[in-house]
Symmetry: C2
Subunit: 338 residues, 2 copies
DNA sequence: CTGAAAGCGCTAACAT
DNA sequence: ATGTTAGCGCTTTCAG
């Protein structure tokens, strides 16, 4: 068998409780004994058993992430994995481990119930795409430490975190105005695409605050695909009065938008500026490279981790809404005018 | 406190060992008692404590993945996360949990030592990018169940799994030849980019087997970037004798390659065919869309999970090399000729 | 500041 | 087929 706390105690000439205390940095241990015990640990090559610790403590020091890990998940949603990576980074720094569990919305409730009942984790981080009403009710009823990654699309008492898309929209607005653009168009997803809707809202607000408006004819909604981005742009460019800048709700739309503009022989940014959101790798693969309003996804995960650990440590804590900021990454698809 | 195995035993009028046995599906329990006990479990809403089980069993039923989760990891390497998702899927189906642990090559040894010594996982899946010699030695010495994700770039007795890049190269060769292409060029990464090197090797072998050769002047190596892809192509197209197809070792190079070709007013696939490897989302964002030799990344993770569980269950098992196959996804950047 | 001892909830011999 | 019981290795009161 491997060396246990008893062996260390014996070799150090102390009791096991003393050893346990130095292990946990208990204040009541004298520097001298602590040093001696630690020395013995090193000599004996002692490592406390993780399972025994979890068992005795009644806590795992682990957090489980519930997310949809279906086929191609990583390619279609690198965003989510970046959040998870940020979470892990924070948890690790705080002595927590991250367990990753794939679920679909249908199975999330049962999985969560199992984890909570069997205490196989001290907290739960749930990606909003697998959040359901029953799961929400379960979390509320059990008061289990949790954080939802993304804004729930229904009312709840859950604790969640998301980036502020409305704010991102205002960032886009003020950036474009500061560059001298004045007639702006928006290409986005359908009404149920909350991210797009919020960015649009922010864009409008940002323009209005500064005395500009976003005319309805310059707002086009469709699917978040390259094809729809192309089609929406194509129709937009048929208008007699062209916008001088186009804001795309996401990269897919932006790719189609760029293609449609260039197909007509128009120049970006000379004839029209293009701006999108989120700095996906392929924002840089267009010619010219796209100016984007980026949200720091990694940061979102980091914050989520901090909150979750706080909640685990102080279960009474009630964090409800949380948002992270956005920054502009200026590239060649926009240029100061006038 | 929550309900324990004792409560169930008492309520069912049996001993705790009987309850434990039905929990673990032990053969010696009569159908009758098993049913009764399970009934009681349901009534009492009993769930066995995960920590207590791990502790008593001396096994965690968990596997830890060691990987580089640095900034932008998910965007730059969705590939790796897809493997991890596949791993999780398999492990879950077999009753194992997946823990994700970010490390860099410098810290991997220490982390692994901690996990092995504290028995905080029953197995280790290590992404090749954080594999080092000392870590390799540790794994070999301790005989700890493990699998390396990707082929180690040094000799070892480790158990690893990777897709067969040499084979992928031959797939590219035979596909292009079958389409009527005959003069083929290769654009790849530097010699230390093993993936690129193996694809090149396979391409050469595939051509030679069929009586064709890959002339050295048609092999260009550089960084795996769009910029280098562009530059290499540009120089290649200065040759008097142009290739009729260009094989790019990866998507980054391919993007630059496509741009360079089109910049010269040449047509893909009419003037020259383009083929690359790995079906990243942006393989579809070029115009025309790229024909790719794809490897099933998810499948790689799934296989890794199967092997790892096997190794955990039968520690004597020695899996060394493992490869998964490749398939061709034909799109518009190549076309049958002649 | 240190030690004794009572668990934590379950598994797995071993006995019946 | 079922029950008895001794741990598993650590944490944590409670005494001293």
């Amino acid at each position: 068998m491997s060396v246990t706390i008893k062996d260390v105690a014996k070799a150090a000439g102390t009791s096991v409780s003393t050893v346990s205390k130095v292990l946990n940095g208990h204040y009541s241990i004298s520097q001298q004994t602590a040093d001696r015990v630690r020395q013995v640990m090193r000599e004996l090559n002692y490592y406390p058993s993780a399972s025994a610790q979890s068992f005795a403590r009644g806590a795992t020091r682990a957090v489980t992430v519930l997310a949809d890990l279906g086929p191609d998940a990583a390619f279609q949603n690198p965003h989510m994995f970046e959040i998870i990576a940020g979470l892990e980074q924070t948890l690790r720094a705080r002595g927590y481990r991250l367990m990753l569990r794939g679920v679909d919305a249908a199975g999330a409730y049962e999985t969560a119930e199992d984890i909570i009942s069997r205490k196989s984790a001290d907290g739960l981080a749930i990606h909003v795409s697998v959040l359901t009403h029953p799961l929400s009710a379960l979390l509320t009823k059990t008061q289990f430490p949790h954080i939802v990654l993304g804004m729930p699309n229904f009312e709840s008492q859950l604790c969640w975190i998301d980036n502020n898309n409305v704010y991102s929209g205002t960032v886009a607005a003020s950036f474009l105005l500061s560059q001298g653009y004045g007639c702006i168009a928006f290409l986005g997803g359908q009404y149920y695409d909350l991210g797009s809707a919020h960015r649009l809202q922010g864009l409008k607000e940002g323009l209005q605050t500064r005395g500009y408006t976003l005319d309805d004819q310059y707002v086009r909604l469709g699917q978040s695909t390259r094809a729809d981005g192309y089609a929406m742009t194509d129709r937009l460019l048929d208008e007699k009065q062209l916008p001088d800048a186009i804001v795309c709700a996401n990269n897919y739309i932006a790719l189609g938008c760029v293609a449609a503009i260039q197909e007509r022989g128009m120049d970006i940014p000379e004839d029209v500026g293009v701006l999108t959101f989120d700095d996906y790798p392929f924002s840089r693969f267009t010619e010219p490279q796209l100016t984007v309003v980026d949200i720091d996804v990694r940061d979102l995960g980091i914050r989520a981790g901090k909150h979750l650990v706080e909640i685990i440590r102080h279960p009474t804590l009630q964090v409800q809404t949380n948002v992270t900021a956005s920054i502009i990454i200026e590239r060649q698809s926009t240029r100061r005018r006038g």
